[in-house]
């Protein structure tokens, strides 16, 4: 019907074919083993929910309300015993190597019961993803080895992301805003490393983590081109924990203040700095934005899973209530208006799930998961003898060649269009699902009336938990602008974003 050149030309028009349905392109390329792993992971999550999360969700929430300083070490230790902190660490780095998108399905399941506990697991992988985004394979190998050893020893080793500052929330997530903002976490180059001063706030899992992926800056006048990413271990001299925030919801997951007072971080834990960034193909400022996009493209799909989970949890609570409560003489579930409300809530869950799955397809083809989703590599890594992974791979990963090759593949070879696609779809997943989460939780309370106001029904907890999802990983306003920047307005030369 059409010449190949015509097909190509028409599909290159906005919206581009590649942006329309990532899933359609990805499915044929995806290793079949990923489907099996996803099924297994969902089953694992449901078992974990039954045995650990559901019996403890309301109690943990209540306990932290009673004692705001309470830290849920016992839950973290339990998750550690279940092997959840290395489940999604790639086998080449010593973990169990489950396919990375499957974590979103796992997190949806856990969040449908308790968002705080989902965060206690999921936020660790935000730290993991941030470390991976630097592709400093030597440090990745060492930090992940600590996580794996922590599972063996029974002493959990979690990784956090330390990004937000007291004076810079949104500003630190966009290079267009960084240089105009109030970024204050300074990393001064000194002999043998960096000396850090400043503080970070709202750091999820901060008090519970062993490693902290710190965003600091060598020049506060122009932070966008002077990113210094450091791996800081709890106990490092000059590093301390400040206050633990009192949040409205997600109470079981601490939000911590991290303080750095002349904290010296040796070169061996400098994941990325201006000197390293200068060796990449993009400018240093572009590299900073690429790293941020790279992390958020994956983590915002994760927050999409959180949003989907909380939307689902609210829906399931309302469904349960409606199916056992008589209203005006008949079961609520048999009132037409209630059925339509429940259908709307169900719709929100399904659409949100589709949004984060689509985002992950994009990450699998163009972003963080790209290499591991290539069929040959996937099966090679999956079935490689343990001895090879333990003896030979570390040798490569700890050598400069490992970092060079991974950065070449993942940083230099990632095109601008791929960055925009993954970043835009990450934002889409985030805003779609988290708005749905808040909406569903509010609808659940509408349907449940007096019962919904009680903490033990969990519906009100879902609402408290859901609201944070519209704020962290970039506010939904920022994500709307990012979606517009990356996908909506990108081909219009007259568009400028963040220039009010």
């Amino acid at each position: 019907m059409l010449k190949t050149s015509d097909v190509k030309a028409y599909c290159a028009r906005e919206p581009q074919f590649e942006d329309i349905i990532c899933s359609l392109r990805a499915v044929s390329k995806q290793p079949k083993g990923m489907l099996k792993e996803t099924r297994e992971v969902i089953a694992l999550a449901r078992k974990f929910n039954d045995q650990i999360v559901r019996p403890y969700a309301a109690e943990l929430d209540r306990r932290v309300q009673e004692d705001p300083d309470y830290l849920p070490h016992e839950f973290v230790e339990e998750a550690n015993r279940w092997g959840l902190y290395s489940l999604w660490i790639p086998r080449i780095f010593g973990g169990k190597g489950y396919s990375l998108p499957s974590i979103c399905h796992f997190l949806e399941e856990i969040t449908s019961v308790c968002a705080a506990m989902a965060n206690l697991i999921g936020v660790h992988y935000l730290g993991v993803a941030t470390l991976i985004a630097t592709w400093n394979t030597n440090i990745i190998q060492r930090v992940f080895n600590d996580v794996v050893e922590g599972e063996k020893s029974g002493h959990p080793c979690l990784v956090s992301l330390a990004l937000t500052e007291p004076g810079a929330g949104t500003d630190i997530e966009e290079t267009d805003l960084m240089d105009r903002g109030n970024i204050a976490c300074h990393a001064q180059k000194v002999d043998g490393g960096y000396r850090v001063n400043g503080s970070k706030v709202f750091i999820s899992n901060g008090h519970l983590s062993t490693w902290h992926m710190l965003f600091s800056f060598a020049d506060l006048e122009k932070p966008s081109a002077n990113l210094v990413m450091l791996a800081v271990r709890t106990g490092t001299q000059g590093f301390s924990f400040g206050r633990k925030e009192q949040k409205m919801g997600q109470k079981g997951c601490p939000a911590s203040e991290l303080r750095f007072d002349d904290c010296f971080v040796p070169d061996e834990y400098v994941c990325l700095d201006p000197a390293q960034a200068s060796r990449l193909s993009r400018s240093r400022a572009e590299t900073t934005m690429q790293v941020i996009d790279y992390v958020f493209s994956a983590s915002r799909a994760g927050v999409g899973a959180f949003g989907t989970g909380v939307a689902r949890g609210a829906y399931e609570a309302a469904l349960k209530f409606a199916s056992q409560t008589e209203v005006c003489g008949k079961l609520l579930i048999n009132h037409e208006w209630a059925q339509c409300m429940l259908a709307e809530m169900h719709k929100n869950v399904l659409i949100s799930r589709n949004a984060y799955v689509e985002s992950n397809y994009a990450n699998g083809m163009y972003g963080m998961y790209k290499t591991l989703h290539i069929k040959s590599i996937y099966y090679l890594v999956k079935y490689a003898p343990t001895v090879v992974l333990k003896k030979l791979v570390p040798l490569f990963m700890q050598s400069p060649l490992g970092t060079w090759l991974m950065r070449k593949m993942h940083c230099d070879w990632q095109t601008d269009a791929e960055i925009e696609r993954t970043s835009g779809l990450g934002s889409l997943a985030k805003i779609t699902a988290t708005d749905a989460g808040v909406q569903n939780a509010q609808m659940a309370l509408d349907l449940m009336g007096q019962a919904g106001l009680r903490q033990e029904w969990i519906a009100e907890k879902h609402l408290r938990d859901a609201k944070l999802m519209q704020i962290y990983e970039g506010t939904n306003q920022l994500n709307r602008l990012n979606l517009f920047k990356c996908l909506g307005g990108r081909r219009l030369p007259q568009v400028s974003v963040f220039t009010d």
Binding site: E326, W337, G452, R454, D500
Partner: protein, 373 residues
Amino acid sequence: MNHAANTEMQMLARAASEFASGELISHRQETDRFPFGPFYTTILEKAFKLDFLHITLPAAMGGMGMSITALCMVLERLCREDASLGALILTHCFAQEILIQAGAAEILENRVGRAEAPERFLIACPLFNNPSEIRHVARLEKKGDRLTLSGQIDYMVLGGVADLALVPAAGEGQASWVYCLVDLRQPSVSISEPVLSHGLRCCPAVDLKFQNAEAVPVGVDNGGHTLFEAAAAKLSVAAAAISAGIMKGSFDEALAYAKEREQGGHKLVGWSDMRKMLADMAVHIEIADMVVSKGCQSVDQGAKGWEKRALAAAIHVQESAVQVTTDGVQALGGVGYMQDFGQEKRFRDAKHIQACFGLTPLKRIKLLEQIIA
């Protein structure tokens, strides 16, 4: 609202504003910890002495005998800073209105009007359930010349604070129900620990268990539904005033923060999307003002169709408050989610108060039924 039409109302309005800024703000975070922190007994006693709880109690019964407009004016001003006290007043006014409608003036005059302490004055009732929608009634039995209650009533608002409660009850197998006055101090009444609730923490609720507790029915036989509807109709605009106050507080705090906080090199309020969000909040508030004002006027004048107007006002303003307080948290970003600020509490309170008098969607259906009738 600008209902300060006479001196008395102006004084009351000023007193409410001063009380809110002087007493409520400074203790807000601490009192919101209830039931894990102490109940705000001192604040309640001060509010009682200032007659905030007596506004609509007829003068002949020891109250101020003022209008719904006056009540709404006070509620809105108090709830700008903390809605718990406003909800507590609403709960009592609802119980009081049921007693007035039931012709139980004697109880109000001899017991409530003469009370010298809040716990003797206040009457608990299940504010957040319409017993005709979700049947939640105790079992009423005649034993000799006594009437007794058995069974359980969940979420009795002020049940742990007041000595008296209005309890919906019905005889075995009876479809219709009646309100009964119950002295909660009698040993046949078990009172649970305070329920851990979504919002309005200092307007607490408990679960009550009755084992042949003595009860005094109020109103005509089986007239509970009629009393509920009459009282809810009159006070729904007061619930709207609470929501209006909450959203005004949310807007004030969001605007103040946006003027102070910098992002991308200039004040947050300079970013056009933030201005649009704040403007949307302001639109909701201006409309709420008009709606509550008109609703109060209709109720006080008994204008034809006032019930519809009051109900529509409540539905609209409460929905607006949920939207405004959601944006109010969002405007502050991460700090809006923290308990150091007032926004997260307003977010919870706005959703909580929306549930008063029963299921939210059914209020819409009820409005249509009134129109059709």
